[in-house]
């Protein structure tokens, strides 16, 4: 299955990418994607950000499905 992964703010700048497609085995979770990204992007900080799947916050154990949109959400700072 394929999942779109979105990068924002300092994660986007650090990794130099706004969006990638990830090929994953069936049953993969958010955490599986995160480990894949850590291996691929040296400049990703080791502490995980928050995650959203299809625009809803989820935890790392959340199972993914084909065509899901997974966003890495660094600490938000709107409303200031």
């Amino acid at each position: 299955m394929t999942v779109r992964v979105l990068f924002f703010a300092y994660l986007r700048e650090r990794c130099g990418v706004r969006e990638i497609a990830c090929e994953l085995p069936e049953g993969a979770t958010v955490d599986d994607v995160w480990r894949t990204l850590l291996a691929r992007y040296d400049r990703l900080p080791p502490e995980a950000p928050r995650f959203a799947v299809n625009r809803l916050y989820v935890d790392k154990a959340h199972p993914l499905h084909d065509n899901d949109e997974l966003a890495l959400i660094p600490p938000v700072s709107g409303g200031l």
């Binding site: 924002f8 300092y10 938000v76 709107g78 409303g79 200031l80």
Partner: protein, 148 residues
């Protein structure tokens, strides 16, 4: 008559329109919070401010906050708007308006609205100051880079 709305905009926030849309003959009180970009943060003089947004989720998240407000308090309408892109210093970057029959509800719900927006809505602020730039957030988000 009263209308709730949840929006991300690129241009000036029209607080007057916001107040008008949440108003209704049964709404005795409206509380509006307006957040304005400041010229200073932690001793740095800010020259420019820019907001990045995950727009589709930001609007969904604001709508969810509005739903939660309506579950918790007896309000008439709730509207939220956040400006993104470059926001000049001293301009409104965010506004939350809540109308209710009584002011207890209007105040409590408006406060909850801005507090929750700040905690959950996927918007990020970047400050540009003399000598660097900086994504606002916990310290690991610092990314000063020589510019001047």
């Amino acid at each position: 008559m009263a209308k709730s709305s949840f929006r991300v905009v690129q241009d000036e926030i029209d607080t007057q329109a916001l107040l008008a849309e949440v108003g209704a003959p049964g709404a005795g009180g409206t509380t509006l919070f307006v957040g304005t970009t400041r010229d200073e943060n932690e001793g740095r003089v800010i020259e420019r401010l820019e907001y990045e947004v995950y727009e589709a989720m930001a609007v969904d998240e604001m709508r969810r906050i509005g739903d939660e407000i309506r579950r918790r308090w007896d309000v008439v309408a709730v509207s939220m708007v956040h400006r993104v892109g470059v926001v000049p210093i001293g301009n409104a970057s965010v506004a939350v308006a809540v109308s209710a029959a009584h002011r207890d509800e209007a105040f409590a719900a408006c406060r909850y609205g801005i507090d929750t927006l700040k905690a959950t809505v996927p918007i990020w602020k970047k400050e540009y100051y003399r000598g660097g730039e900086h994504w606002v957030g916990p310290c690991h988000a610092h990314a000063a880079s020589g510019r001047g």
